[in-house]
Every structure is written in C-alpha cells, then in structure tokens.
Symmetry: C2
Subunit: 371 residues, 2 copies
C-alpha cells in the first residue's frame, strides 16, 4: 500500500493506432522511460465491461459485467446492466475507501457515475455538471464533442492542485472523437494533442503523483452489419434471444451494434443447425460455445449465451430492421477482437510494481492498488 | 388571471404531419371539441427559438433569442446563446412567480434548464435526473430514445397528482423520434400513441387542469447540404461569418445543419455579389436582407446577419468539410420555412380565452397567462 496520489487516465477508444507520437508526443515519449506495454483489452471490447474491469482490477467472471445489458433467462427479457449493485467485487475506489483513502471519479457520461461512483468522494459527469463546476470551468462541451474531454482533464488538474486529500483520480474521457475520425485525421490529432498536453500538466501540478494510463478498446472502420436474429429466423431457426453487448435497455437505431454477439437457443439440440447458419454469414469469423467463450475470455457464466459469435474486422452485429445493411462510409465502431490492442503505462510510481509479466491486460493496471 | 392549474405540452418536432388520428387519437379527437388551430412556428424553426418564444409568449425581437449561438460582431466570433440572462423579457414561469404561483419545467435536455429554469419551483432534465427521481420513476431512457418522453410525462402526471401547489407544468419532450422516423413508421406511431395516452391521463389525474399543447417545429426529409461559407469563398467572396441557427458553441460533425442561414458580409458593397453567388446555389430558395428578415420574422435586429438565406424543402445549410454533400437516406431535419406548421390546442380552460384571431403563432399559446 502506498501513500502516493495516483491519476488513472482511462482514455476511451485509445487503441494503439491512436497512441502515436504525432498525436500524443508527451505520453508516447514517456512510454520509453516509464513502465509501458501494449496489452489486451477485456472481451468484449466495449466500454462498460472494460471500465469495470479496470476499476476492479478483475475479470468479468469475478465482477459480473459482460455487456450493457444482460438477458434475464428467468424473466425471458433483457435487463439493463448499468447498476453498481451488479458489480460483485469492490472497485479500487471502494478498496481505497476501506483504507481511509478518498477517490474522485471524473467521467464524460452520467451512466458511468451510476455504475462506478460507490466509494468515491467526488463523482463528476461532464454530461451533467453542477452549477459550481460550470462557474469554475465554464460549460463543458456537448457529450458529442472533443471539448468535453478537455474540460474533464481541467477538473482533474484542479483537484490535483486544490484537493491533496484525494488519493485516486480516475479520468474517463469519451471516445466520440475516435468514432468520428481516424487516427490521421487532423481533428483527431488535435483532440489527442490537447489531451496529451493536459496529461503532461499532471507532472507540473502534482510532481508527487503517479500517472497510470490505459484504454478500454480501439476503433476500426466497419462496412456492414447483420441482424443475426433475423438471419437465423430467415433460415428457419428462431433463436431464444440475441444480445449485442452494446445493446442498451432501450432500442436505438444503429446504436447497438458491436463486433460480437451473444446468442441463446431454445434447445441445445439446435446448436449444430445454428452453427451452420451462422458460419454461412460472411461477417461471422468464429463461433464459440458458452463454455469455450467463458474460459477464453473469463466471462461471467450466467450471463453468456449458448453461443458467442465473433465478427471479422469490418462487420457489426445488432438489431436492424433488415437482415443485412451496408454501413455509411467512415462508420467507425468496436466490440470485436480487432479492437483489443491498447496501451498500458505507469509513470512515477514510487512503490514496487508487480513483475512485468503480470501486466498483459488493461485491467492489470490497477489490480495491485489498495489491496 | 386564473387560479386554474395549467399543463403546457411542448411536443418537440410535432409538425402537423405527425399530429394524426392514428398516432394521437386522444388529442386529435380533443381538437374537435377544444380550441384548436393549425398555427405557425416562429422562424427559424429550431427548438430553442421556439421554446423561448412559447415560454415568453413573445417574438424574438422582444426576447432576443434567434438561434443556438449568435455572432458577436465586436469579438468577431460566435458565442453560445443558451443562457437565461440573454432572455430579455420574463418567461411565464417568472410572470407566475411574480403572482406567487409555482411552476415546474420538465424537459429532456439539460440545456433547456439552463435557459428556462429561472422562476421555476421544480426543474427536471430527464438527461440528468436526480437520485430521487430515478428511485421513483426508474431510469429515464437515453437522450436518444422514445422512452425518455414517456418518463417525462410520468413525472408530469405525478406532479399533477401530488403537488397541487404547482400552478404551471411545462413539459418539453425531445424530437429524437421525429428525426429518426417518418410519421407513418410504426415506431413513430407507437411513440406518439404512448405520448397521447399519457396526455389523456391529465384529465383523469387532474380534471381541474387546463391542457395546452403546441410544438416548436415540424420535420422533413433532407437530401443535401451546402456549406455556404465555402461556396462563397469558392466564388471569391469570403463572408465575414456564416451562422447556422443550429450551430452549437462546439462544432460537431453534421449536427449544426438547418434549413436557413445567417450571413455577415465584410462590407455592404458586397451584397449584390453575395446575392448572385447564393442565388446560383440550387438549394437556396430565397435571400432576405437583414431588415426584411427582421420585419417578416420579428427577429432581434442586433443578432441577425446582413443576409438571411432560406433553403428549399430538401436542403440544409451548415458547416461541412466540403462545399456540398449528399445527405444519408432518411436524414430528417428542420429549420426551414417548410417545418413551420404546428398544432395549437387549448382544452378545459375555465377563463376567457382571447379571440381566436389572436392565435396565429405557437407563441400565442401562453401570451395571456399570468399577465
């Protein structure tokens, strides 16, 4: 256990293709002298699964969160998975609190607060700023802006400056810029340069603090989408349920697509036929059984479907109004095995780090803190 | 002045094409017995201009809000127009408060609270619900959902039931469903049927209350977009500034388009050439001078450009990365003169209404309340 303050930056969508010297000169240079590894995200490569994994330092099989929703097999309907009560292990904020240490959770999205605020002393969602924060830092950018991330880091720097009693500051930005622009686009470069510049100020404002950085997933161009439920029905086999890990409780047009899918069957006998149908879908790269998926990805068994379909790099699965759709040019998204490469960086940590072999997944970043 | 409670429903995006018996059986039937007229929206047909006009019962020339941003000619840059201080006349909430009456403002969006909450006793943004509201009504739907509107009306019905001290309840839903689906689409029909059913409960829960209904704008399919600044530069005439009324303080890709545009020139001498260039743009239907636009639409003179370009029904203007873009299929938006037809309904009002001739614009709905 350490007395040192820690800033944990979880840069949503910062896959390795975005973590480049041109866009992030400070942190990529730091990577050469600090502890740095390219690591894997947690599957599926969607935000809340990885956010919870990083905040707990645990696999989904332990913390229980495997998507935005889960299929409640008893009620036979999907249920929203964005509630703190569903997390089965303490987060690092709760672990810190047990040791009398205070945490601050800064995030772009309100729903992250619902999921992860227990145990924190300060919880800020830039989407819903208080009057006090607006007076001090101005209006944050819209939830769909680059500026909201700058605002969030400014709040973090202010806490570092004026609240030395806060031991852990977790800064979770939004991946809106990565959804909108490829790494080489000037807008993306500008966005990350400013984030990088703000991160560089951590060392000025709080030279004593350790800097931890990672990401939840990368981002790729996607060109096509399948509704696997409709595909299966079209082939005469209605599945019990098909869940996109990005599926929100409320169905929204084109917002629930991901690069993988959980599929529940009405009977185990149907597995062979289901695999035949799914294997014939051009964008399906692999189909895992429930047990194989849980073992390989350390998922929570009771929430995973009978089958897990994995998409190729350019395909998405989710609820559509047709079986198949071409996606708009420049459509960028994640959720597949192709968005799993993320950076992990630890700088200025005065304690003894676990051996480098222990860092292979983004969730390893904070596993050893406040144990 | 009346002691009667009033529910004002401002159904964002409910143009006359959406106000149909199939989707809204209760309110369209009510329209036959209640006071009902098809009226005009306030120009430009964007939300905050109309929201402020309806809440004040005044034209923009009096209240001052003519867009989401305005061009600060002294600072020579755009500034955000979503601040209550910019409204120059009292809202009906402030008028009611002056008479000792309490108001509730229920809206989907946080920014509406910033703009319109002064004078209210209760201000709820479904985007940022309090813990107390979440406990009582569950999680509201996402800001991009139909369900957020249902949640909002449930809160309204609860206030009617349990807070008889609240004299005015203003319910401002979101037009996300109208942006997504045409009137005949089953999802749109379902959305409006549920809104209609919730509105019908006002009479059950509060038979004493008056029901007022209107909308801010309609919605049309748009097929193409021009960046008029780039068009003018391409023709050798750089304008001083071009402002889309939907332009937010932060520039967002494809989110600032509207069916009209304010254009500032560097010199009055350039007007003839500017008109030539703009007239040659296929989607420009009309170009008004500053004075003509202010007179016709009752706009605040100091915030309007030297020219106002009006789009045809299928064209949008705004900041793009190119001069011209085809829009995606099913792209739906507003802001032009073609989204100005909205319903105005008053039911169960026990006072004496102004003569029918006084109701020609949506902002006339509440002009006479708390005067």
């Amino acid at each position: 256990m350490t007395e040192q303050r820690t800033v944990v930056g979880m840069i949503d969508g910062l896959g390795m293709t975005y973590f480049k010297p041109e866009a992030m000169p400070y942190t990529t240079t730091l990577a050469k002298s600090a502890f740095f590894k390219q690591v894997s995200a947690v599957f599926p490569s969607v935000t809340n699964v990885n956010n919870v994994s990083i905040c707990c330092g645990e696999w989904p099989e332990n913390h229980g969160i495997i998507a935005n929703s889960y299929f409640d097999t008893e009620a036979n309907e999907p249920a929203y998975m964005n509630a703190a009560e569903l997390i089965r292990v303490p987060t690092m904020f709760q672990r810190a609190a047990q040791q009398g240490k205070k945490s601050a959770l800064l995030t772009s999205k309100r729903k992250t607060i619902e999921l992860l605020s227990p145990g924190t002393e300060i919880a800020v969602a830039a989407e819903c700023p208080t009057e006090e924060l607006i007076e001090k830092f101005g209006q944050p950018g819209d939830i769909y802006s680059c500026e909201i991330n700058f605002w969030l880091w400014q709040v973090a720097l202010d806490i570092l400056k004026n609240r030395p009693d806060i031991s852990v500051i977790y800064v979770h930005t939004t991946d809106y810029p990565m959804h909108m622009w490829p790494p080489e686009d000037p807008t993306s470069v500008n966005h990350l340069q400013e984030v990088d510049r703000l991160i560089s100020q951590v060392a000025e404002v709080a030279p004593d603090a350790a800097l931890f950085l990672t990401a939840d997933h990368g981002m790729n161009v996607k060109t096509r989408a399948w509704d696997l439920r409709r595909v299966m029905i079209g082939q005469g086999l209605e599945p019990r349920f098909v869940l996109s890990p990005e599926r929100d409780y409320y169905i929204k047009h084109h917002r629930n697509l991901a690069g993988c899918s959980y599929i529940w069957l009405n009977s185990p006998d149907e597995e062979t036929r289901a695999r035949e149908i799914l294997n014939a879908v051009d964008g399906v790269e692999d189909i895992l059984s429930h047990d194989a998926a849980c073992e390989r990805f350390h998922l929570a068994k009771e929430h995973v479907g009978d089958l897990v379909a994995l998409a190729d790099q350019t395909s998405m699965f989710g609820d559509l109004e047709v079986e198949f759709e071409e996606l708009a040019a420049n459509y960028r998204n994640h959720g597949s095995l192709y968005e799993m490469e993320v950076p992990l960086l630890i700088h200025n940590y005065i304690g003894e780090l676990p051996a480098a072999d222990n860092f292979t997944v983004n969730k390893d970043l904070t596993t050893f803190l406040y144990r």
